[in-house]
Subunit: 392 residues, 2 copies
Amino acid sequence: MSEPGDDDAGSSADRMARIALTWLAEPGNRSMWSLVQSHGAPATLERLLNGDEPETAAAAIARAKANGFDPQQVADAALHRAERFGARLVVPSDEEWPERVNELATLETGRPGRLDQDTRPPLCLWVRGSWPLAETLHRSVAITGAHASTPYGVTVALDIVSGLCAKNWTVVAGGGFGIDTAAHRTALAEGGRPVAVLACGVDRPHPVGNAALFEQIAETGLLVSEWPPGFEPLRHRFLIRNRLTAAATVGAVLTEASPRSAAIQLMHRALSLRRAAMVVPGPVTSVMSAGCHELLRSHPATELVTGPADVLKALARPGRHDSAPEQRHGSLDPESAQVLQAVQQHGTATPESLATRTGLPLRTVLRRLPLLELAGLVQRTDNGVIAANRPS
Amino acid sequence: MSEPGDDDAGSSADRMARIALTWLAEPGNRSMWSLVQSHGAPATLERLLNGDEPETAAAAIARAKANGFDPQQVADAALHRAERFGARLVVPSDEEWPERVNELATLETGRPGRLDQDTRPPLCLWVRGSWPLAETLHRSVAITGAHASTPYGVTVALDIVSGLCAKNWTVVAGGGFGIDTAAHRTALAEGGRPVAVLACGVDRPHPVGNAALFEQIAETGLLVSEWPPGFEPLRHRFLIRNRLTAAATVGAVLTEASPRSAAIQLMHRALSLRRAAMVVPGPVTSVMSAGCHELLRSHPATELVTGPADVLKALARPGRHDSAPEQRHGSLDPESAQVLQAVQQHGTATPESLATRTGLPLRTVLRRLPLLELAGLVQRTDNGVIAANRPS
């Protein structure tokens, strides 16, 4: 098994392959991500184009081939287009890669279905704006809520964002109208560094009515997307994008949402990732607060917040900002948890000894170790694997 | 040790003494209640007037004596006045006594202070209205909230009370303006049986503006008070009264309250008694919802409710309406809990054997057993004490 971050990590071949793979499957695709973990991006691309992985993205590859898909060409075009817009590509081996998003490697949604297949870490990120991505996201909070927000929701969002900016927290939101827009505008007004995580290329203003806002964000903060320039904001991409917002931040605040809002799905991602999941209550007579109340009622891990003071308190709680490894096991799949436990019971363990101790096939152990390493739960040494002292 | 409910229980001497004792200490007074538990009401009255219990209510007795206090006379006058208003006296040995209020015997508030001394069960109750008290309160819910309620709070209270009346729940509230009034008016409109628990005599309309409402309640439902007719609604009595409302009902709903509202204190009583403590959220921008949010944030046992459906669900939860003994230990003081545990580990135990097993003085065991019996947690048999199968 080759290791993730092979010799070619960060090379132009690696970067090119990561871009090209986005044409073959949506970001977060489990099979694709596992292949890249095992073989690296260039070899994965080669295997796919050679038909060595018939199970993975077969239809997409067939389509791509029929259209005369040329990886180098699409990557070059994307990079060229990005350059025109002052955007850059960030890959996992880059210094500004936000390590926190790697925790998606261990996300268990517990729900089958199309969208819950696309929950793995991103292969690469496109960024517009001059701040380093990791540093900007280090102390960051997602603000989410309805596009059809009421004056109440906007007022509350303004209040919370102001309070977060005053304490130098980065505010992260989508690009939609309503709460997203209110969050960014307030962050701009307060001299903060707004980050908009988009479900389309960073060169595509969507909604068009926010075009001027996106320009301001690109100048003052960051526009971030997993999709290459030019990619369209398809409906399902907003939900795929939400996992990234949840993973990239320390916690998420839900201000207003109807029960079936996409903002609720973002909160579920935050809960699965053990992020601070903060919810603003509202009038029980308002349908735009019904989703908030439903979440507060059904998930004991959510926290009711009434303003910036409550939010800052929730973020300051131990285990939030620098969560201890013990507190993150809950989001591990059972096999990873078994492997981790076996690692923690030894000084240094080899994969073979872990297989013996856990009763799992060596192959399974070898698949789980990179995930645990990415999540900052184990470290590799020359002699084998040891438990990590602290998360990366 | 004499048992509570001696031969004289329910006799005219017992009734007279219980009325007269109200002149010597506020309802719920711990020392007074303990004496009545140990000696019965008539003997307690005698001991107090003889000066045999100098520690208890000494100042009040001195004052009473100075004023030529005549127990028979004050009791006769109170009964006479009650009769004029169609009110009756209900004592613990009466069939319509609401057994649930006896659980106040084991209430631990965990907070020292003047008011938290007055938390024991009532010695007697004054009732106006034709329904039997116990039956009326059997399926009952307290509605509480600010007197200075907003239209939002009133709207929500109306909605919840309507839903409760539709399912034949009795609605219990105080007599104040705002939420109390809204609850009673809605119950009347919905054909329910409103119960107003007052902090003064049932013949005294307070506030006077609600005089007509009290008449309607007396005709359709019940007016209830621990204070004899003519007694004034002193400030501290509202807080003493709240423990009765909490104990008499299956659960309490807080609709709107500022953080220092008396309604919050009622909710704390409900929590201490392990009643369903249901709280309606509201706009975080409204100070009248700030108390609700504070309670929801600080007490995990509170339940966020958004309307009648949520309230009915909370009331239907196992352990609510007929709570199992196991679920009630949490409200016991440590010594009572020790004694109970020792009882549960034996078939039949004598007080002496319980003292040996628990390491507590026999005197302490003898004091705790009546409380546990009242709370329906132990039963006395000819051979000793056994654990109760189910609460009384």
